[in-house]
């Protein structure tokens, strides 16, 4: 079952990062000075602190204040918050690459700022975000192995269980782990590629979008 753990950890963290990353990006672009500053502080913190330190902060740090979290919950939060920082920069880059005239035209027919963002800006920005977002997907999927350090029963930890008893299997087991991740990233990127194709609009192919990329 470690694979299931991994998959749900990945999905929840990515979804969490998506749901938090979009408002952070919107506040950075459209927010007033205070909200924009808060959003930038959030992004700065979660992009700047190493994932392992975040995991320890959420798991060991929180328990010190009587906040008992399961390792899984702590891992979801640490991965999700970190991803929100990176995802916010993917979305911010995409939003800022949309010509100003789109928003002006939307406002000129009487759409409110929020409606204009929802019906005009985001549908365009999200399309542009898919290629850089596949980077983030590849990154988070690999970061799930770090949850090992706080005792989440994920694939790497499971592999370690096996190799502790059967040391001669180390190469085979870790190669299998590597294969599982290769398969995961391959399938995920294929899925994102298909999504990009399905949402394609003539003349609106994703070009180079400035985004918070990392390896």
């Amino acid at each position: 079952m470690p694979g299931l753990f991994q998959a749900s950890l990945l999905n929840i963290a990515l979804l969490f990062g998506f749901l938090v990353g979009i408002p952070i990006a919107l506040l950075q672009v459209y927010g007033n000075r205070v909200l924009g500053w808060l959003a930038s502080a959030w992004e700065w913190f979660f992009r700047g602190v190493p994932e392992l330190v975040l995991l320890f902060l959420f798991f060991f740090g929180s328990s010190q204040f009587g906040l008992e979290m399961s390792p899984f919950t702590a891992a979801v939060l640490a991965l999700g918050f970190r991803s929100s920082g990176y995802q916010s920069q993917i979305f911010r880059g995409a939003i800022q690459s949309i010509p100003k005239g789109q928003l002006l035209a939307a406002r000129s027919i009487g759409l409110s700022q929020l409606q204009a963002i929802r019906y005009i800006i985001l549908p365009q920005a999200l399309r542009l975000s898919i290629p850089p977002w596949s980077n983030e997907f590849s990154s988070v999927i690999k970061d799930t192995t770090l949850a090992y350090a706080i005792g989440v029963n994920e694939i790497t930890r499971y592999a370690r269980f096996i190799t502790e008893r059967h040391y001669h299997l180390a190469m085979a087991v870790y190669l299998a782990v590597a294969l599982i991740f290769l398969l995961f990233t391959y399938l995920g990127n294929r899925l994102l590629g298909a999504l990009e194709q399905a949402l394609r609009v003539p003349g609106f192919e994703a070009k180079a979008v400035r985004a918070g990329e990392h390896g």
């Binding site: 010509p99 005239g101 789109q102 002006l104 035209a105 939307a106 406002r107 000129s108 027919i109 009487g110 759409l111 409110s112 409606q115 019906y119 005009i120 549908p123 365009q124 399309r127 609009v201 003539p202 003349g203 609106f204």
Partner: protein, 253 residues
């Protein structure tokens, strides 16, 4: 100054400054229902800024605007509601890139006027028909020529059933051979009695369609009057000079 009942659109003493440069230095004019006013003048004299100050896409530093007796510039006015009544046609079209021609025209009907989809589609198709592009309803902006895009953007403005339409250099971004089809649509609109304020360098259009031409320079109105008067007997030396130069350049007057 009181709001005169005769004017549908009234603009009073608009000022706008960008940094050190005062782009608009007190501009006032009024447009009666069914009238077409064409604003001409050298680049950088605040013509586009003036149009944007009318529907507050740009906030003027000073000045007031009335539409049909309602003060647009009043802080308590619901600006989104007012903008829905003021069509705006941009120099570079600004069609929504990710939407088809039909959806571009239909969006405001669905989301601002909250019509049901059947009614919205009906109106949108009628407006596309009006600009001669019903058969392009399913096309995306990138699949249309510049002239076609501008006609769709006029249909998008028309669909909201606006009281007035503001045109910001609607043909300046077009290849010369595509200008005609857009001017044709605009001429037809003027003939049907649409109230229009047009910033343009198209002297032929200005001369044949405008009820009044406004010549602007340096952020103020230098001279205004019926086309024949401005073209044949301008009162200001500067007006004569500008008209002579622009006619040499663009021809067609």
């Amino acid at each position: 100054m009181a709001n005169t009942n005769a004017a549908l659109l009234e603009v009073e003493d608009i000022h706008k400054r960008y940094g050190k440069e005062e782009v608009l230095r007190g501009v006032s004019f009024a447009v009666a229902k069914g009238e077409t006013k064409v604003i001409i003048g050298p680049s950088g004299t605040g013509k586009s800024t003036l149009l944007r100050c009318i529907n507050r896409l740009t906030l003027p530093d000073k000045g007031r605007v009335w539409l049909d007796g309602l003060e647009v510039s009043h802080p308590k006015t619901n600006i989104n509601k007012i903008r829905a009544q003021i069509g705006f046609v941009f120099q570079d079209f600004n069609l929504f890139t990710h939407l088809t021609a039909l959806d571009n025209v239909r969006l405001g009907l669905l989301k601002v006027k909250r019509l049901d989809k059947r009614k919205a589609t009906e109106i949108a198709m009628a407006e596309l028909e009006r600009v001669g592009l019903a058969e392009k309803a399913k096309a995306y902006p990138a699949e249309l020529s510049g002239g076609q895009q501008q006609r769709v953007s006029i249909a998008r403005a028309l669909a909201m059933d606006p009281k007035v339409i503001l045109f910001d250099e609607p043909t300046s971004a077009l290849d010369p051979e595509l200008i005609g089809e857009v001017l044709e649509v605009m001429t037809e609109l003027a003939r049907e009695g649409m109230t229009m304020v047009v910033v343009s360098h198209e002297m032929g259009f200005a001369r044949s369609v405008a009820d009044e031409i406004i010549f602007m320079e340096g952020g103020v109105i230098v001279e205004q009057g019926p086309p024949e008067q401005l073209f044949t007997a301008p009162k200001q030396k500067r007006t004569a000079e500008f008209l002579r130069k622009i006619t040499e350049l663009y021809g067609g007057a």
